[in-house]
């Protein structure tokens, strides 16, 4: 009995260390690949003015572990297809689609590292992805979401100034989508998207988050 407990504790410890060792290796690979030249990994958000946001060369990653789904992240780093139709922080240039590509090994360790960067402001297990009529109504009719975001729509395909939401169900953590709507200033104190907290009710934000999380 005692041996079994020791073995169990030992295994758990070993698993924890491999994960954290891999994350540490990932942190090194992150700096070796100069990812930090364009991405902030240190929270909380520092932007105070529009100029601060416009000075950034890439999206902040300090809450990457709460924002992304691990399998998507590992795959995207090896084959980074454009997410934003336009170049980052530009309204006139197309996304050049020239994001650095990683080999499988670096992609795995950097993913481990990025997934360790979580935010306590994202409550876990609140949003279940669901194609619900209420969320759809808000997204395409009552609110201007589709005016800026491409999405899997039938006639109107959506605007181009924001990240595409095609595949959001594979890319984004549903709980993060809700937290992003509800606690905007924590993640993006300065952004081109309007703040909807106080305009949408809490349950409406949940419905629209569940709807977005259902996008294939």
């Amino acid at each position: 009995m005692r041996i079994a407990v020791i073995v169990l504790i030992g295994t758990v410890l070993a698993m924890l260390t491999t994960a954290s060792v891999r994350a540490a290796a990932g942190e090194q690979a992150f700096s070796a690949n100069k990812c930090g030249e364009c991405h902030v990994t240190q929270g909380p958000a520092q932007e105070k003015t529009i100029a601060d946001q416009l000075a950034k060369k890439g999206p902040e990653l300090w809450y990457a572990g709460s924002k992304f789904q691990q399998p998507w992240l590992e795959q995207w780093l090896q084959d980074p297809k454009p997410i934003r139709p336009l170049k980052y922080n530009s309204l006139s240039e197309e996304n050049p689609g020239d994001h650095p590509k990683l080999a499988a090994g670096d992609a795995a360790s950097i993913t481990e590292y990025l997934m360790s960067l979580t935010s306590a402001d994202v409550e876990v297990g609140v949003i279940k992805p669901k194609k619900n009529p209420k969320g759809r109504l808000i997204f395409v009719k009552k609110m201007p979401c589709s005016g800026c975001h491409q999405f899997p729509g039938k006639k109107f395909k959506g605007g181009r100034s924001a990240p595409s939401l095609h595949g959001a169900g594979k890319r984004l953590n549903p709980d993060w989508i809700y937290a992003y709507l509800k606690k905007t200033r924590v993640f993006k104190p300065i952004r081109m998207m309007p703040i909807f907290d106080g305009i949408l009710r809490d349950k409406d934000m949940k419905s629209v988050a569940a709807y977005v999380a259902s996008f294939k």
Binding site: P144, C148, K155, G159, I199
Partner: protein
């Protein structure tokens, strides 16, 4: 007294001329950041979101006749609460939780600069 009248007129004219002066760079930056994505950097309603299938044309702020139909209070209200408050499309977002009252006031002045019009009087 009669001699003073032209002087007073001149003074009032000078003052109002001063008020209609160009908005500061900060206001233009606010406009370019939040509004130009639909209304375009020149305010012509041709931002990058407006693709062929975009459901409703964003207002062209350089169209004097259209902009003259709105009072400053109308403009302010639609920026605060979004299109539906003026029976317009919800594609015009509500900015009341995003922008401060001062930012919205200065955007109204900027839109008047773009249309080169005073708007309907309240």
């Amino acid at each position: 007294m009669q001699k003073l009248l032209p002087l007073a007129a001149l003074l009032v004219f000078g003052l109002s001329g001063g008020m209609a002066q160009a908005v500061d760079e900060g206001t233009k930056q606010t406009f370019n950041f939040y509004c130009a994505q639909c209304h375009g950097t020149g305010g012509k309603g041709d931002g990058p979101n407006v693709t062929d299938d975009f459901p409703v044309n964003p207002r062209n702020f350089t169209k004097k006749d259209e902009m003259n139909k709105l009072t400053n209070a109308d403009i302010k209200n639609v920026i605060l609460k979004g299109g539906p408050v003026a029976s317009k499309s919800p594609m015009m977002p509500p900015w009341g939780k995003t922008l401060s009252a001062e930012e919205i006031d200065s955007l109204v002045v900027y839109l008047r600069e773009l249309c080169q019009c005073e708007g309907k009087q309240e």
